[in-house]
Symmetry: C2
Subunit: 319 residues, 2 copies
């Protein structure tokens, strides 16, 4: 599997087999109260229950397990201060190798501690994109570690695709599957798995209006970069990649955007009625189901809840 | 089934069959992070995912379904401002009959709205025990409705017992099962199910130190009333009943108490690491596993999470 080609059906099946003993097969839950509110028959694939609290552990594990023994011995590297950093750190530790994580020196201590907790080696840099890339380059040259991009990588996309694959295996006859979109790793994987394993099911992306670069990219026909995005859904700030964009363009029916108000409402409803902790990014697809009810009412819809890593001391409905 | 006898093995099996199509068979989850923190191998039976958000729906449904057609036509009645009120309202609505719920007129509007939302008919009274009982008496005399006590009732206990029965069916070889104790409906049912279906498993009750009447009752050999209890675990304020007490005395190994600080810590850890919403009362058994680690470390322990109804705008770790 090259790191820059579109994953095949077999790539996804192999990824599922490869990562099976490391990941959780997460539960799929339904909630009659959320169904009543949205007028939709929703099946939530709960990646908030995944290890490290997010789907990112699927792709990171698949990437690490795809390395040769020689590559593996030199470790892996990435720049991220989010769930990918934690996921890669744990995936590396599971194979007794090193993860070098480049993080801006102003990253929140809770994120630094989480990566350290999974055994990641953190290299701090200035909080600019240039410093981040230069620092990563240096680390890779120095250590020989393999750079694992957070989303623009075949192995990552094939890994993320396994969540939708499991959803399709367990729930028959879904009209629609919906996933949030940031860099597009989860959405591109979801759309591929759906095309391969349930071709009658449509795929929609869910995006905050305050970070709507993927929606604009899809509609304009070229990658529109994400500039100064503003949203509480901090997992969805990045731009599409050269690999994720063409997959999304080909296999995703549309990307629908939602207001900040509806993201917070959706998150609050999932907490109160569904009794599960989801992070703001994870609530964006349900927010779409609420805000665009005309497209979803009466339909059977699978939603990938991307993660549940949220600071419970700092909640948007408590001022 | 008389309403004041100890449920038999058959009573519990019949209850499970009777309520099967109305209740959720709730999931059992494990969390490696919570296992690491407590040093214990824990299986959480998630009644926070039960309908109305609490185990109470099992007992209420069993009680309503145990009525004769003649009784059923006249409805059911209770006094409660908590989960039992909501549970009985929904159980009655499911059988197209009335639920008369006596509530103190100063009950929080969120609880009043919840009962109304399930179709319960609320009768307000002065906020005293005497007014509550007198009002209930009047309603029962006037309507002919059957009084369903929140816990001191064979049908309720048999219904609550089905949660532990399901846990035992799915998880082999539990050393210990733990449930919180207020009036004792859940704990007595749990201890009976365990004695009948897994006699090698010990049962412990979990109680806030600030409402330790059940612990003191067990140790003194008679029911000690709960006077001015003070705890955040608002589902555990009541005293044991004449029916729940002898069951607990016979079948429960011990009742262990925990500090308020540890209840809040346990609740926070279950939210942050387990990614599920539990109410303070539901976190009390895990608090016991943390505070009394000597009794649980290395053991295989089933914990009944009683419910997940909590005001997410008012959390104990946010001042």
């Amino acid at each position: 599997m090259e790191s820059k080609q579109i994953p095949s059906l077999e790539d996804i099946q192999k990824a599922a087999k490869r990562i099976g003993r490391y990941i959780h097969r997460t539960p799929i839950i339904t909630c009659s109260s959320l169904n009543d509110i949205s007028g939709t028959d929703i099946y939530f694939k709960c990646e908030n229950f995944q290890k490290v609290g997010a789907f990112k552990f699927r792709g990171a594990t698949n990437a690490v397990l795809s390395l040769s023994e020689n590559e593996l011995a030199k470790g892996v590297a990435t720049h991220s201060s989010g769930n990918h950093a934690q996921a890669l750190a744990l995936a590396a530790r599971n194979r007794d190798t090193k993860a070098y994580i480049v993080m801006p020196k102003n990253a929140p201590s809770v994120k630094i501690d989480a990566v350290k907790g999974y055994g990641g080696e953190i290299i701090f840099c200035e909080p600019t994109l240039q410093a981040r890339e230069e620092t990563l380059d240096k680390i890779v040259k120095k250590t020989g570690a393999t750079f694992i991009h957070p989303y623009n990588d075949t192995r990552i996309i094939a890994g993320q695709a396994t969540a939708a694959m499991e959803l399709i295996e367990e729930i028959d006859g879904l009209d629609i599957i919906m996933a949030p979109v940031g860099g597009g790793g989860l959405l591109s994987g979801t759309s591929l798995a759906t095309a391969y394993f349930s071709s009658g099911t449509k795929v929609f992306g869910a995006e905050p209006a305050g970070a709507d670069d993927a929606c604009r990219s899809l509609h304009s026909g070229e990658i529109v970069p994400s500039i100064n995005p503003k949203t509480i859904a901090d997992g969805l700030l990045t731009s599409l990649g050269s690999l994720t964009y063409p997959i999304i363009k080909k296999y995703v029916s549309d990307i629908l955007t939602v207001s900040e108000e509806n993201i917070i409402l959706a998150m609050k409803l999932i907490w109160e009625r569904g009794k599960i902790i989801v992070e703001p990014s994870g609530a964006v697809p349900f927010a779409v189901a609420l805000q665009h009810q005309d497209k979803f009412a009466g339909k059977k819809v699978g939603i990938i809840i991307s993660g549940g890593n949220v600071d419970i001391k700092n909640l948007p409905w408590i001022k």
